[in-house]
Point group: C2
Amino acid sequence: MDQKAKALHGEALVIDCLEISRWSESVFKNMRLGGLTAVNCTCSILENFRGTVKNIAWWQRAFDRYSDLILPVHKVSDIQAAKESDRTGIILGFQNTSAIEDDLDLLSIFHGLGVRVMQLTYMEGNLVGQGCLERLDAGLTSFGLEVIEEMNRLGILIDLSHVGHRTTLEAIEASEKPIVFTHANPKSLCDHPRNKPDKALKAVAQKGGVVGATIFPPFLPAGNDSILSDYIDVIDHMTDMIGPDHIAVGTDFTENQPKQWFDWILTGKSRKGPALNLNHPLKNPKGIESSADFPNITHALLDRGYNEADVKKIMGENIMRVFSEVWKA
Amino acid sequence: MDQKAKALHGEALVIDCLEISRWSESVFKNMRLGGLTAVNCTCSILENFRGTVKNIAWWQRAFDRYSDLILPVHKVSDIQAAKESDRTGIILGFQNTSAIEDDLDLLSIFHGLGVRVMQLTYMEGNLVGQGCLERLDAGLTSFGLEVIEEMNRLGILIDLSHVGHRTTLEAIEASEKPIVFTHANPKSLCDHPRNKPDKALKAVAQKGGVVGATIFPPFLPAGNDSILSDYIDVIDHMTDMIGPDHIAVGTDFTENQPKQWFDWILTGKSRKGPALNLNHPLKNPKGIESSADFPNITHALLDRGYNEADVKKIMGENIMRVFSEVWKA
């Protein structure tokens, strides 16, 4: 990598809008190798309240045990502190609202435990709204409207990556704060139920939010044959559509997750097995295979002709702006 | 009351398709005074798994303590046994599927605990579908389809009284077994969100199910000023529409429930307070104020000109037929 890219990457805020790896010291070391300033780390997907609390307790122990590598992010200045101390700030996030069960009060409980990002639904419907693989393309429930109101009040960032189309649009409309797709690509580039129609991408930008482009192979046109430049094509396509102020990186890295784990998250409440065929084994795009490869993105963006200011926005400043606006509650 | 009505009531199977009283010895004594052979008694409304298990444990103690008045119904022959031993058979039922949370396996757990009737939703949406006061008139979720399949397999009767319009029609379509409205009146007589459009009433009959006419004052045209003959008018109206083989009695008695309890069930997950104004204090129709008044219904039906065979169907044989078809799994 050339010196310019290396220097830029070193000085930039580098934020991954979503990872869902099998958390371990080696994953955290890869984050350090990749120069990651902060990562939104999923700590609840299908779990209920109690299961999620257990996951958060794991993180509390990890923050002690790996304090040379990571630190918890509760506010924007914690991300600055991570940068200054050469560690990676961990933002705890949910990919579902199953953890709050039927109780609005649990939102402030989880906020108190440090959770700062919540996706409204995973693949299926829940008490809040409908997911992208749900048979219904229906909107927010009455409870969902109150969940959004309370997340806005507390300062929890709303993520709509996996959310169904109509629920996505209604949530963007209902939220008083910017919302994000932490990890989703344009449907117009790769027609997958998890990717987003242009209308939704534009609505996120209009609301002041960001879209994290993902390397997850099934959401890229070339699937398991993708390479880094295919990923940069996604960023190009979205930049053309909604401008460089609304693009971020949200890899969706699933480092060391076994096939059984994918089967679990894709089966959900059903007895019919995984709702999505992921074409296992997944093969991340050559050049961006783990957090350690993050400098390659900075390099590739510069090579593609992005100016330094835009590279810094995409690599972290855009999502940092959204955190600042939403978390201050 | 004349001797003919008294004799008929004494020999008939008398079944109340739904009560949700503050259960106590006095409530059970009223059931005996009214000559009730069996009652579908709600043991879960908004509760989750654990809360519902606790309610069922209360019933297990009650079956021991009040064994001179009541007995548990797990199969149709238990209702015959109740009749022969001059006791009231208690059918445990849910008015929601919140108790199974996100787990299809809990259906067989509750079936094992004796639960034989489950309403798919209460007033709000849940993981299965949408309730009648939900902002969405959307259909069944993917999970909801599997819940119906499993209820059919186990032999749990599906109740759709509080369920939203589209979810109701989809559930009738999806179920392989007859379904019921245990307690609902025609919207064409009293335009209340809890009452049912003619289309839905006809679909229940078409499926071989029954509709339990309710005395709950807000669902009667004269509200708190209703009298027994207004209730018989509801039965007349529905008999004209769907025939005497599909009508039953589902009072929705709420004996001794305090106002706070109504506020609780009508508030649900919301912070906005009760979703429905019930015009408290409720005043049951004169002539049918508690379970003790059940003989008055038999009397009034005969007075209205129903023949003895139809009176016996409406008072219990119709719902007994549905139990027979569904519970044999």
